[in-house]
């Protein structure tokens, strides 16, 4: 999959890129104008984190949030969106919290082993490159996440379509 190098439309904002770097991996990058210790703080302090993780500009709201952000700690949050009847819950554990350079957390809401998110903070000239690396347990898991979210309220139909295409492929 080609890298998406499009910059944000608003002038003066750094570009956010998302790339599917392999069957199982997504990588998000963005440079934030500030030292790594402050950017890390905004990730690692719940009262700061909840101010930006569910941006109102994207139409999502934070319904509940609790977290103990340290190695071995946990998080649990619920988000709402006008298109969703029920809030969506996200939860997992922090496998590593190393100020000011690295955080690793699990995404356990889907049951089974979920994706593991690693965020690294790299400071250069007063700005910080943030790299969000998401590793899914399998190609099917990432494909499934894309398909289910792509179709909103229609994941079952889409799964059925996928299975049909797979069976067509297998029959070829």
């Amino acid at each position: 999959m080609a890298a998406d190098q499009k910059s944000d439309p608003a002038a003066g904002k750094a570009a956010t890129t998302v790339e599917r770097t392999s069957d199982r991996e997504l990588v998000v990058t963005r440079t934030v104008n500030g030292p790594a210790r402050l950017v890390f703080e905004a990730f690692a302090k719940p009262e700061l984190f909840k101010q930006w993780w569910t941006p109102a500009s994207f139409g999502i709201t934070l319904i509940s949030y609790e977290a103990d952000i340290r190695t071995g700690g946990f998080y649990r949050l619920e988000m709402g969106h006008p298109a969703m009847e029920q809030p969506m819950a996200f939860f997992g554990r922090y496998l590593e919290v190393t100020p000011p350079s690295r955080m690793v957390w699990t995404n356990d809401e889907g049951g089974e082993p979920g994706a593991v998110t690693t965020v690294t903070f790299e400071e250069k000239d007063g700005a910080t490159l943030v790299v969000v690396h998401e590793l899914y347990p399998s190609k099917e898991a990432l494909d499934g996440a894309i398909a289910s979210e792509s179709t909103g309220a229609w994941p079952e139909q889409f799964e059925a379509l996928d299975q049909l295409i797979v069976s067509l492929d297998a029959g070829a």
């Binding site: 930006w52 894309i146 792509s150």
Partner: protein
């Protein structure tokens, strides 16, 4: 989080509801083929096959390209297109997050300056 229209899915399912069209997809899974070849393969008139291919094309399951007098059919790129759309939507989510994060970091920087650090 991008929402695809149900009409799009309906088009896919109605395209797949016909045995000949499923056969055409299966055939194209083995390799690209012209409409004439497909018509021969399924013992149909050229007009009949054109209609079936049109339905598959409408649903995004098949793409066609005309080179000279021959129209070649291949499996569509709908899965790829969907993934591209999802990635762009995900990118917009993160861009919104980072824009909000910028403000928080800016406030933290000002707080430090205000503290005289």
């Amino acid at each position: 989080m991008v929402q695809f229209s149900t009409s799009r899915l309906d088009a896919s399912f109605s395209a797949l509801s016909d045995a000949t069209r499923r056969g055409v997809l299966e055939q194209l899974g083995r390799g690209d083929a012209s409409i004439t070849a497909l018509a021969d393969r399924f013992h149909m008139t050229l007009t009949g096959m054109k209609k079936h291919v049109g339905v598959l094309e409408q649903a995004g399951l098949v793409t066609t390209q005309k080179v000279g007098r021959v129209r070649t059919c291949k499996l569509g790129l709908s899965r790829l297109a969907e993934e591209t759309a999802w990635i762009e939507d995900y990118r917009r989510l993160w861009a919104s997050r980072f824009d909000a994060l910028d403000q928080i970091v800016e406030e933290l920087k000002q707080r430090e300056t205000g503290d005289g650090r």
